[in-house]
């Protein structure tokens, strides 16, 4: 039996108004089970912020203990928001349904797409760094890690 309320409930979403997210900010869901993706997402934030002329970046995750990892590896200041699994899956389902904003980025493909771009890692000389920088963050090139 198919029930739409089971599929998606708007009320489970994180209330970003509470965090004063503006049009000059971006919210990144750091939820990839492969930590390499999370690591490079954090490493390339400075370049991402500069490229998009952003004021603030919000990092949202349900991964236990990741806040420390974020603080240690983020290449620029970020605001960390913890979420639960239900909230994570809610945003992923909504993202699958339609692109409701440009201001949310989810750094994985399994929960958000029907085609896993990470399968392309290893094709030619495509790496996780490429997938994170080019596909996920939309940067024109892979930044130097020191950038």
């Amino acid at each position: 039996v198919f029930s739409f309320t089971d599929v998606f409930d708007k009320n489970t979403l994180i209330d970003f108004d509470k965090y004063s997210v503006t049009k000059k900010d971006t919210v990144i869901f750091l939820i990839n089970e492969n930590q390499e993706y999370n690591y490079y997402t954090l490493k390339y934030l400075k370049a991402f912020k500069q490229y998009n002329k952003l004021n603030n970046i919000f990092i949202v995750s349900d991964i236990e203990g990741i806040e420390t990892h974020v603080k240690e590896n983020a290449s620029t200041d970020v605001t960390f928001i913890s979420c639960n699994e239900e909230q994570k899956l809610g945003i992923c389902r909504l993202y699958r349904l339609y692109k409701f904003t440009r201001q949310v980025i989810i750094n994985e493909f399994e929960n958000t797409s029907d085609v896993s771009a990470d399968r392309l890692v290893g094709v030619g000389d495509i790496t996780v760094k490429d997938i994170v920088a080019i596909a996920i963050l939309g940067l024109p090139e892979v930044p130097m890690e020191s950038e």
């Binding site: 198919f2 739409f4 599929v7 998606f8 708007k10 979403l13 389902r93 699958r96 349904l97 339609y98 692109k99 409701f100 904003t101 440009r102 493909f109 797409s113 029907d114 085609v115 896993s116 771009a117 399968r119 392309l120 094709v123 030619g124 000389d125 495509i126 490429d130 997938i131 080019i134 596909a135 996920i136 939309g138």
Partner: protein
């Protein structure tokens, strides 16, 4: 033939007579401008040029029209100039033109807003929930039981469908799929699948396909559906197009069909009788080994000018070839000096196997002809971007390993003579 959203709006302007006697520009060197230009020309209205704010695009020739800066083209204000906009940046564009003195809905017309910014308002959200409901209804109608796999082809490009055909059978075998249906948007797609002799192909309306895609994406862990496209409505995947030489075939093979480098795609067996093909040549007064087919039309890339095709046709006719234009309908007239030739998909490959050569603008036909041994010359537009590369880098037949014998040329209007020579020298 039904009109798309932009065409409907442009048609309204034509019918209202607001374009009569005006010098028309489109704003934005993009796909939507190309669609507007083509549609206007079909209605005997000939735009003057394309304006764009990107300096990188200035000087490019698209659809035979030069891309120029707005301030150099429509400034100072000229009441006889009309600017058509189909862009998500329509507000900014209108505001810029209003700064030159133009008025919206008098000289500036927005034919599509190409909405990309979505929201969580009840209207937008409700719209998608309705799509989900519709998708569920369609899915329920299509599938007899939960074992049935639904393959959805949301993009109806001929070449896309042909390449899907190359890999789908292997995917079906690898995943032990006993019951499946293939959902397509139109009869052309079905006819391309028919080349491979796939069964259970269902044609449904565009809007129904969109709804089914929505449903399959939301229910991806629960229902057996697979969207057969490498980046349908997915910006993250599109950004990888052409990146580090990633071509279309590889994207499809790896990302969609999960096949490694070892797998060699299986081209169709072309089970068509010799008599049927003989009859086609006879009915069209063609001598197979002396025939060259021109295919100057494509949906996904810009056309190259007619005079180039006319020059090539003239040269080949002088050399003694019979030259025809592949023409699917009235919108694809024969190149001057050649006869229009409609080749049904069913016999397309057998026909191409017999002719001497094919000279084509890159289209789905080129994918279908990929492994065929006839002489192949393929033109690609130059100076345009596709994903992280160019149409040539992303769709090259040779680079996609569909063949290694195609002569592939990026058309450069500045070097038209040498382009023509290059093509003709193959014959």
């Amino acid at each position: 033939m039904s009109l798309n959203e932009i065409e409907v709006e442009v048609k309204k302007l034509i019918d209202a007579g607001v374009l009569n006697g005006k010098t028309i520009y489109t704003f934005g060197a993009n796909r939507s401008s190309i669609n507007m230009i083509r549609f206007l020309r079909q209605n005997n209205i000939f735009p003057k040029g394309i304006i764009d704010n990107s300096e990188k695009k200035h000087g490019q020739i698209i659809e035979g029209l030069e891309v120029t800066a707005p301030k150099n083209t429509v400034c100072p204000y000229d009441e006889d100039k009309v600017i058509l906009i189909a862009s998500e940046y329509h507000k900014e564009m209108c505001s810029q033109l209003e700064g030159f003195g133009y008025k919206k809905d008098k000289q500036v017309f927005v034919t599509s807003v190409i909405r990309k910014f979505y929201d969580l308002s009840d209207n937008t959200y409700g719209e998608y929930i309705n799509k989900l409901r519709r998708g569920f209804e369609i899915y329920s109608k299509l599938t007899l039981d939960e074992k049935t796999m639904v393959f959805i082809c949301p993009y109806p490009g001929t070449g896309d469908i042909f390449l899907i055909g190359l890999y789908l059978q292997k995917y079906i075998e690898d995943n032990d799929i006993s019951d499946y249906i293939i959902v397509v948007k139109n009869n052309t797609c079905k006819r391309v699948f028919d080349i491979f002799e796939y069964q259970n192909i269902v044609i449904i309306a565009d809007e129904e396909v969109e709804s089914l895609v929505c449903f399959s994406r939301i229910m991806k862990d629960t229902v057996r559906c697979k969207v057969l496209n490498e980046s349908y409505m997915r910006i993250m995947h599109r950004r990888l197009r052409g990146y580090k030489s990633l071509d279309f075939n590889t994207m499809l093979r790896v990302a969609v069909f999960e096949q490694d480098d070892e797998y060699i795609p299986k081209f169709p067996e072309d089970n068509v009788s010799d008599e049927e093909v003989d009859k086609f040549f006879e009915n069209n007064n063609l001598i197979a080994e002396n025939t060259v087919i021109l295919s100057p039309y494509a949906k996904s890339v810009e056309n190259v000018p007619d005079f180039m095709w006319e020059s090539i046709a003239g040269d080949l006719i002088e050399k003694g070839y019979i030259v025809c234009t592949n023409s699917a309908n009235d919108k694809e007239p024969a190149i001057k000096g050649t006869a229009a030739l409609f080749i049904p998909f069913k016999i397309l490959r057998p026909v191409l196997k017999r002719v001497y050569g094919l000279i084509a603008l890159r289209s789905g036909l080129c994918d279908i002809a990929g492994d065929i041994q006839c002489k192949k010359v393929v033109f690609y537009p130059k100076g345009t971007v596709f994903g992280a590369s160019t149409p040539f880098q992303y769709f090259s037949l040779n680079l996609m390993n569909l063949c290694d014998d195609a002569v592939e040329i990026e058309y450069d209007d500045q070097q038209r003579e040498s382009m023509i020579e290059m093509a003709c020298n193959v014959f």
